[in-house]
Symmetry: C2
Subunit: 298 residues, 2 copies
């Protein structure tokens, strides 16, 4: 039986101290039972310095290989496009029996890019906390980010059950509810709930930035009428989102297609003055909102 006073992981390395990475570091700082020691890895010297200033880690390394050495748990919290190179760099330096997890928004790509570089005996438990804000960087994080939110784990078949349970327990302790899912299914669900909404928000804000100057000023001024909600979403990290779209291409293209068909139908209803079509749809969408409020995710 485990020593109840011992931390869940003697040493945790977090690679990438952005919003998610630094929020986790804050959780580990607040709750002594999670990590005996936290080591930060970030390729930016400025971020490393800031992390130490904030007291978020015992050590901060720009070389990820040095950051992961001796870690029992390694958390990858960088944009998905950086996974393959990072996994290749740290692979040879991982401690035997270590667990590697991540927090990225596309899980098939995570398995594709990370798994091949991990040595035998290292466990890979891909994960995705459904939490975030439009802010980035080590100052943007906060310890309550994961409270009441879902975290989806997508362990490949045959993954060590103890490793999955240890990662699950970590997420539960920071306040999340854990769900295990097949990576492809995760990617299809998130294409709808997250990737399409972000793409649409980026598009509509982009459409507005292309307006004539005097109209643009007024769009900003009168944004409280709906537009500003989109600008919040469209202020999310550009590199992170670029990588999400490029790495969940099929599922995103498929859902854009459905969306475009539906928009075209609505456009037609407006053109031809089909009042009932509009009112029916707008009434149905209210019910979905009620579902979200009932599920306490509002």
């Amino acid at each position: 039986m485990a020593d109840p006073a011992a931390p869940l992981f003697p040493r945790i390395a977090i690679i990438g101290l952005g919003l998610i990475g630094s929020s986790l570091a804050r959780c580990f700082k607040e709750q002594a039972g999670l990590a005996g020691e936290v080591v930060a890895g970030d390729r930016s010297e400025a971020v490393c310095a800031r992390v130490l200033e904030l007291g978020l880690a015992a050590r901060a390394e720009t070389d990820p290989a040095r950051a992961v050495a001796g870690a029992d748990l390694v958390i990858l919290a960088v944009p998905i496009g950086a996974y393959a190179g990072l996994a290749e760099a740290i692979g040879p330096h991982l401690k035997p029996g270590a667990i590697v997890t991540d927090v990225g928004s596309v899980k098939q790509a995570a398995v594709r890019d990370v798994a091949p570089h991990l040595p035998e005996g290292v466990h890979f438990v891909p994960g995705h906390p459904i939490a975030g804000t439009e802010h980035s960087g080590p100052d943007a994080g906060f310890a309550s980010l994961f409270k009441g939110r879902w975290c989806i784990l997508t362990p490949p078949p045959g993954t060590d059950a103890g490793a999955v349970e240890a990662v699950s327990e970590l997420w539960r302790r920071v306040g999340s509810m854990v769900e295990v899912m097949e990576p492809g299914h995760h990617d299809r669900v998130l294409a709808i709930t997250s990737h399409l909404p972000h793409l649409i928000a980026y598009t509509i804000v982009g459409t507005a930035t292309d307006l004539e100057e005097h109209l643009k000023a007024e769009v900003i001024r009168f944004s409280a009428s709906g537009f500003r909600d989109f600008t919040r979403i469209a202020a999310s990290d550009p590199v992170m989102w670029r990588d999400i779209f490029l790495n969940n291409r099929e599922a995103v293209l498929e859902i854009i297609q459905r969306f475009t068909e539906d928009l075209t139908a609505l456009q037609r209803a407006i053109r031809w003055g089909e009042a009932d079509t509009l009112e029916d749809l707008f009434t149905r969408t209210r019910a979905i909102r009620r579902g979200i409020i009932d599920a306490k995710q509002a």
Copy 2:
């Protein structure tokens, strides 16, 4: 010179006690200097009863002609589709010299549907407070709704300057900043900042409601990843929004067209893996958000 103790309007009639109408009634209740007496008009008996229970008006009438009799200011706060019938019904009962205003989201249609029914000597000052929530009805209102928000007035050429000033002063006293604009220009600006965002939100939530049942449950569960912001917008009043789209048809169809072109370009960038195109756009959209924060409309 006006008596400084006298209210701005001895009697105000509000027709339609939904979110906006009941929020104004609450403002008038809180600040004695705005209305000597408030009369509510709503075709629903249940709403009239509720308005009296909440103490939002001295009197509540289901017949709008009775509600507006003797009123110095009449505020139309019903869906735009109801304007023509309502204006026709109240026209003969308006007090000479009365001011009629409204709070609708399309201003050319307001002028088209209301002005022809008003007798000589009654002043029409169309208005649009840029404020709201996704909730409806007399219980949804609150007095601080208009604080720090814009209110756009679109008086037709030749409107009495005193009437415009009196309506402006009312909005300033409830906390708003007032802007005067040409109705057609208003409708084009709002098509971008408000009507398109709502249409897109309704569409994307509609796309999700058409999914297979098991996927739909997961969309609700994992909505915190972007989708739920759209569901909030798509929970707005169905009849009000139906009428907005039908009455601002040209401007809405024009902006849908621009949006669709931009979405198609982005779709192509994803399909062909054009990383720079994506990152460039996502970086530009962040700047718009900063503009909104600087303009204190975030």
